[in-house]
């Protein structure tokens, strides 16, 4: 078998080369993942925090329901749900683009996993931290904002890193609703060119490079946020947070 890398210089029939196409597809993958990341971290932090407010059991219950619902349905099924079913139930959603719907699906799915980590991170802190904050006259809201969350979010950075890489990989399910991202490109270009191995190798490489970049970005963030003397987030605190959360 011989390589035929020049397949990437061929025209795909619409005036662009496969090389241009794969780069655009990479852009779609990164945009889907980046938008879903922002959504999932925002929701994950808020919901994970609410699940620790044991003073209001119904808030905890609502947070738990959120997590169980979004965690126990396969991501592909959730994508179909957002793309096909919800616009049928809520007609105003019919104008939303596929991109937005996939971002919502991926973002909420991942938010349930991040909420779980945030809750574990908060519970891993010594209880005295929150009590000391209240004793100093901070309101409960202030104690979360200035004492508990800054500590807890640093603790969960290592599991958040692997969850962010999972999110990037999970963005591949967007192919199922025809978002022109890398996996979609792989399937279509393989069929059109019948140079599947070259196409798949290039796509796989781009995924691996992106996952590695996410990993380095998060490591840089971790270094940047580290408080001298407060113990590194990847040190002894890590054991308190379940790091094997599954995923793919």
């Amino acid at each position: 078998m011989s390589w035929e890398w020049q397949v990437f210089l061929n025209d795909d029939g619409s005036g662009r080369t496969y090389l241009e196409w794969i780069i655009q597809a990479w852009g779609w993958t990164l945009s889907v993942a980046a938008c879903a990341w922002v959504l999932s971290v925002s929701f994950g932090v808020v919901i994970g925090t609410l699940r620790t407010v044991t003073k209001y059991p119904w808030v905890v219950l609502a947070g738990n329901i959120w997590v169980e619902v979004f965690r126990n349905i396969p991501i592909l099924v959730q994508v179909f749900l957002w793309y096909f079913v919800l616009p049928r139930i809520f007609p105003s959603m019919q104008h939303w683009s596929g991109f937005v719907l996939v971002v919502l699906a991926l973002g909420f799915f991942t938010s349930s996993r991040i909420a779980e980590q945030v809750k574990a991170g908060i519970n891993a802190l010594p209880r005295g931290q929150g009590m000391a904050a209240l004793a100093m006259g901070l309101t409960p809201l202030q104690s979360y904002r200035y004492v508990i969350l800054p500590m807890a979010l640093r603790v969960i950075l290592p599991p958040l890193t692997s969850e962010s890489m999972n999110l990037l990989k999970n963005s591949s399910v967007a192919f199922a609703v025809s978002i022109p991202e890398l996996t979609m490109f792989a399937m279509q270009a393989q069929e059109e060119t019948s140079r599947g191995i070259e196409i798949y190798l290039a796509v796989t490489l781009l995924y691996a490079v992106s996952a590695f970049a996410v990993n380095r970005l998060m490591a840089a963030l971790e270094r940047h946020l580290q408080i001298p003397g407060a113990g590194s987030a990847s040190g002894s605190d890590k054991a308190a947070v379940p790091s094997i959360s599954g995923g793919h």
Binding site: E68, I89, N170, V173, T183, Q190
Partner: protein, 222 residues
């Protein structure tokens, strides 16, 4: 509810289209859990063997599998298997091979953590009793590692069950495909997706509640 009508999903339609897919999803989950744990344990032992050549093979394999999306792995195997074996195999067989190979990477990390959780004294005691390496692993280390990691292994199995829906990419007939097919034939795709969502949720939620109970039980024993 937005004109959705679930009533057409009769028992006949379910048993004609969905059950076949459900059986495949369950078989794929169980088969690749067993295969994945066995291959994963081998990989974990290779990694911990202390031999450079063996452990670097395991590291490259595990990290490689973990850095690419499962959908791409499924596509890769489906593309390459016919060229390796020499004749085409169905999407279902390809899915089995893919999931064993892919999940082994994840199970190997779990088993590695499990093996490392066993105190060194256990291995030393086994050596003092004159056991060979194989005996130490088979009789002393692995049974305990397996028990310590049981909740995590079961959690991963639930994740695996959810992942089986991704065989959609190569058109294998699983639970999701069963619903999609029924929805297409009867012109009710939205209802089919909605029912699929409910079924997946019920299965995964009951399984994860069961795993939580097992976890609580095991933590009391220790």
């Amino acid at each position: 509810m937005g004109g959705l009508d679930l009533s057409f999903f009769s028992y006949e339609i379910i048993s004609k289209f969905v059950l076949k897919g459900l059986y495949f999803s369950i078989a794929l989950t169980i088969g690749s859990t067993i295969g994945g744990v066995i291959l994963g344990t081998v990989l974990a032992l290779m990694r911990l063997s202390g031999r450079r050549s063996l452990s670097s093979i395991a590291v490259v394999y595990v990290n490689g599998m973990r850095s690419i999306p499962l959908v791409m792995v499924i596509l890769w195997f489906f593309l390459l298997m016919p060229t390796i074996i020499g004749h085409s195999i169905g999407a279902e067989t390809s899915a089995f091979i893919t999931f064993i190979a892919f999940e082994a990477a994840f199970f190997s990390e779990i088993m590695r953590a499990g093996i490392q959780s066993i105190s060194k004294g256990q291995v030393m005691a086994a050596q003092a009793l004159g056991m060979s390496y194989a005996q130490q692993m088979k009789l002393v280390v692995l049974p305990q590692a397996f028990r310590n990691m049981l909740p995590v292994l079961l959690t991963q199995t639930i994740v695996l069950f959810q992942d089986t829906s991704l065989v959609y990419a190569i058109g294998a007939y699983d639970l999701l495909k069963g619903f999609v097919t029924a929805g297409k034939i009867y012109g009710r795709p939205e209802e089919a997706y909605l029912l699929a969502t409910v079924v997946y949720f019920v299965i995964c939620f009951s399984l994860s509640s069961w795993v939580k109970r097992i976890q609580a039980k095991i933590s009391i024993i220790r």
